[in-house]
Amino acid sequence: MRRSSSRRGRAAPVVCVTLFLFVAALIAYRVFSIVLIEGRGGDVAVAAIQPGQDGGGAGQPASASSTEHEEGVVDPVESTTARVESDAIARPELAIGRTTEYDYDPPEPGSYTLPVIKPAGDGPVLRLDGKRGQLREMIDGRITVLSFIYTRCADPTACPYAMSTLHKIRTISEQDAEIAENLRLVTFSFDPDHDTPRTLADYTKALRRGDGAEWQFVTTESGKELSPILERYGQQVDRRKDPNHPLGPFSHLLRVYLIDRDGMIRNIYSSGMLDPRLVLTDVRTLLLEEQTRSKEATPDGGT
């Protein structure tokens, strides 16, 4: 007798949609956009976009400040601030504006310093073409934003969020030649068993299209080669007891590293501060620092 797979097939989506609607009703006071990026072979990546932003980071209209009920409490709606047009051109990331998650204006590039935290670690990696290389080669020559992720991660505050943020940065860099020429994004999977170069290539195909900053994706050949690299970066990864955990088989803290051209880590971001505006402000701060150093090194001071 033929199994009623068609009935099962109809029931499953109904159950899931019902679950989804129930949860959405519970938290109806917040608004999110979720973009499904479908790669080849049916893999699905989810990029969570922060409220108040569209997928392309387009500018938000200038708005009055949000309504406040009493001092110290603001309305739970996004308050956005649009820079004057000249600032938006010089720093296109400012067009993102404030959000409920990042409700502030970033500092001016160069108005602060980023102390050296520690040297960026090195180790053998596999590139998307399956060839071996060194992580150092990915970092050399450009200011680098390095993130550790794995594609099976379903924690919206971790890997999908990191991917979304780096994608946003890359999109912005398409409008800024200086950033595009001087910045490299590197995404490093710590799940070599699943995230083979082929899997990563499929997963990232849509992300690698277009112009903008170079974006490299790497993994390692084995866990044995992975562990020393993670240790050098202080990126802790634990295998969950339940391999079928809904958030993925690994638990980890989101960590994204800003690395200067000398291979030194200059900032570390995690959930709560992975604001693309801040990351790009830091990149610009490093570029200004390089320019200053270059002028100081010139015998005539650059004149």
């Binding site: 989506p13 949860v23 938290i27 999110f32 409490v73 999908p160 202080g234 802790q236 809904p246 971001y269």
Partner: protein, 441 residues
């Protein structure tokens, strides 16, 4: 082809589940990622019951080895050793053990000595029931450029921010914030603004350059620091200090607002009377923080007004200020509705309804002991823990010098004692800061 309908179902399932998780996860207030409500928002959260309490304890001569130690108390409700000390690590010597904090990955607990300046780093991940000392930083003052008295140790991504209490020039209050990597290497020093070097900050009245606590609100890119007193006071006998008019002038009267990302001070509020612990509200639209003043016994509110200006004001008295109950540690509930305020001199905890942060209202009080300092609460607000010691030379004398850790259940109306450990009778030491540990983390 046969698998295509199944794959479509899988996509819908995955997409729906992830979307549901995303909506649920992101519906939580942005900074609710820690247990004890005072912890850094960058840390993972202990959900449910805490398993252990780590108590950084001052050594007392003649009590055991007389050294400072990290003590572990079992608070698993079904454990046979519930409410008892199950582990202890002595660090050798008395350093004026005081405060401590976790790294952002919660794998290490850093605890410090206000006198020696040493910082002890414990692995609390390998075996949460038995912390292990893995590293000692013994050049804090030298590396930082003269900062003395590492006090609050606060997790930032991949780093720790440590507040000083003093400096090695005059052992007075002017001091700095110091950054370290999670691995224990010095990164940077950020001096508090002073009247002679305001570092770009707006000064409301005075900039004393004093330090004490650090708390951040990432959503607003804001950091607050408070102000206490320098080494020459906190290492002095309490009674002697009270009789010294010059010493009594050397207490902090400022709270400083910083740009968290750039580490630049923006504004120095005038908050007289030594503002100590700071607690940011946790609600996603709550832009305010509480502190209390030790010498003037007031609750102060630091808040953003309707024009986007940050301001400060006193909002309530704690007990009878004329009797100087000496408010010390505070704890804000995860729903921002309740503020627990300990006062050292009368040994009491006072509970305030702070649903309206501009008008706190006391709803309950209880005497915990002859003296009380620290209070830690569980995320669900149902359990409270108290410890006794303030400073070795400031704790009471004789029979009034009770040393303890006590655990209570709190149902919103009444505190019920669950366990009490007499740290004097057990000859352990002066119990100070408490931090939660969990096996599942």
């Amino acid at each position: 082809m046969k698998n295509r309908p199944r794959k479509n179902v899988q996509r819908v399932i995955l997409g729906s589940l992830v979307a549901a998780v995303a909506l649920v996860g992101l519906a939580m207030p942005a900074v609710t990622v820690a247990d004890e409500t005072c912890q850094s928002p960058y840390m993972p959260k202990i959900t449910g019951q805490e398993d252990f309490i780590y108590v950084w304890t001052l050594g007392v001569e003649g009590w055991g080895d007389g050294s400072d130690k990290l003590v572990t108390i079992d608070v698993r409700p079904d454990s046979k050793t519930y409410g008892t000390v199950i582990h202890s690590v002595s660090v050798g010597g008395r350093h004026e053990a005081h405060h401590g904090g976790f790294s952002d990955d919660r794998r290490h607990l850093w605890v410090s000595g206000l006198d020696s300046g040493k910082i002890f780093i414990f692995d609390v991940r390998t075996d949460p029931a038995a912390p292990k000392l893995t590293k000692t930083i013994d050049d804090f003052s030298k590396s930082s450029g003269g900062v003395v008295g590492p006090h609050t140790i606060y997790a930032l991504p991949g780093r720790l921010m440590i507040s000083g209490l003093s400096n090695d020039k005059d052992h007075g209050g002017p001091t700095a914030l110091v950054e370290y990597t999670n691995e224990g290497d010095f990164v940077a020093t950020h001096w508090l603004p002073t009247d002679t070097d305001p570092r770009g900050a707006d000064i409301e009245k005075v900039a004393d350059g004093y330090g004490y606590d650090i708390r951040v609100l990432p959503r607003r890119n804001a950091m607050l620091t408070s102000s206490f007193t320098g080494w020459s006071n906190y290492m002095m006998d309490f009674g002697q200090m009270l009789k010294d008019p010059e010493a009594m002038k050397r207490f902090g009267q400022t709270v400083t607002l910083w740009d968290l990302h750039s580490r630049k001070p923006k504004k120095v509020f005038h908050v007289p009377g030594a503002p100590l612990e700071i607690r940011w509200a946790l609600g996603p639209t709550h832009n305010y923080a509480f502190t209390t003043t030790a010498l003037t016994s007031q609750i102060w509110l630091i808040y953003e007004d309707s024009d986007g200006e940050w301001k400060s004001k006193a909002v309530a008295d704690i007990g009878d200020p004329s009797k100087i109950p000496l408010p010390v540690d505070i704890s804000l509930s995860s729903d921002d509705s309740t503020l627990f305020v300990d006062s050292f001199m009368d040994g009491k905890v006072r509970v305030f309804d702070v649903s309206d942060p501009h008008n706190p209202r006391q709803t309950y009080e209880k005497e915990i002991g002859s003296q009380v300092n620290m209070v830690s609460q569980s995320w669900d607000g149902k359990r409270l823990y108290f410890s006794s010691s303030l400073l070795a030379n400031w704790d009471k004398k004789g029979d009034a010098d009770e040393q303890f850790v006590k655990g209570y259940d709190w149902d919103g109306k009444e505190m019920t004692e669950k366990f009490s450990i007499d740290f004097a009778k057990e000859k352990i030491g002066r119990a100070h800061i408490m931090r939660f540990g969990a096996e599942d983390l």
